[in-house]
């Protein structure tokens, strides 16, 4: 326990819930492996979405490719959040002070802002496009930014334990 951490995170780490995660033989490893499996699904699906936005996979209409990948992305993101919360809770007061974790969370927020801007700004136009049509500039930028953000997020996630 680190006393430098805000009280809410000390309380989370001290909770029965967090103690159960730490003391169970399988719960922490389950969350650890589950987080990686969810990440693999998330990374694959979001790469398909981003590449389509950039202009790859152009033989299929964007609505088809992006719509299917989007479902996987949403489920995988929920799984990432759930398993991530288990991992975080076990060591909340330490992890919240970890600069790599904070950078990662800022980028996750940036990734969600990016997709929100796309969803409200360009999605309607993109979804109406036929196969092979040129992608609007906004969509291409959103795709590039997303791809970059999530690759860095994955790298930072792996790095948290080393700081």
């Amino acid at each position: 326990m680190t006393e430098d951490a805000p009280a809410i995170f000390q309380a989370l780490e001290a909770s029965n819930f967090a103690a159960t995660i730490r003391q169970s033989v399988w719960l922490y490893p389950f969350a650890n492996v589950g987080h990686i499996v969810a990440l693999v699904c998330f990374a694959g699906a979001i790469a398909v979405m981003d590449l389509r936005l950039i202009g790859a996979l152009a033989a299929t209409a964007p609505a088809k490719v992006i719509g299917r990948a989007r479902r996987v992305v949403i489920v995988a993101l929920c799984a990432l959040a759930a398993t991530g919360f288990l991992l975080f809770s076990a060591e909340a007061s330490h992890v919240i002070m970890n600069p790599v974790f904070l950078t990662k969370m800022s980028l996750v927020a940036a990734g969600i802002v990016n997709v929100t801007i796309y969803e409200f700004g360009a999605k309607r136009a993109v979804m109406a496009l036929p196969p092979g049509a040129a992608m609007p500039q906004v969509a291409r930028v959103a795709g590039f930014v997303s791809l970059g953000i999530w690759i860095v997020v994955a790298g930072l996630g792996r790095t948290i334990a080393y700081f």
């Binding site: 003391q23 490893p29 334990a161």
Partner: protein, 115 residues
């Protein structure tokens, strides 16, 4: 091309010390210490078991291994329970005061590797 190679070499040189320790990066392997004394607190928990040991000079927080690894190697919770006398060989933290990560521990004449 030449410049990118220089940059790559620089990046590798920076990365090398961290990779060499693989999770032991914040511990000073050049200054190994052996702490011997009674265990005063014991947390047999994930992601790493942790004990505090009343050494000759001060009380050390000793970070051990994940519990599943310790079980596999026969270091069950009762081996590192409060009151046991332990000898821990490991490396002091470069971040946390009075904390070390054990390479191996000896309790009741039994030595268990933690890495």
């Amino acid at each position: 091309m030449k410049r990118s190679l220089v940059l790559l070499a620089g990046a590798l040189a920076l990365a090398a010390p961290a990779a060499a320790h693989h999770g032991w990066g914040s511990y000073d392997a050049a200054r190994p210490v052996t702490v011997t004394g009674p265990i005063t607190t014991s947390k047999y928990e994930n992601p790493h078991a942790t004990i505090t040991v009343k050494g000759a000079d001060k009380t050390w927080t000793v970070t051990l291994a994940p519990t599943s690894r310790m079980m596999t190697r026969g270091a069950l919770a009762q081996l590192v329970a409060v009151g046991k006398t332990v000898s821990a060989y490991g490396y002091p933290s470069t971040v946390e005061k009075d904390e070390m990560r054990a390479e191996r521990i000896t309790v009741d004449g039994k030595t268990v590797e933690m890495r």
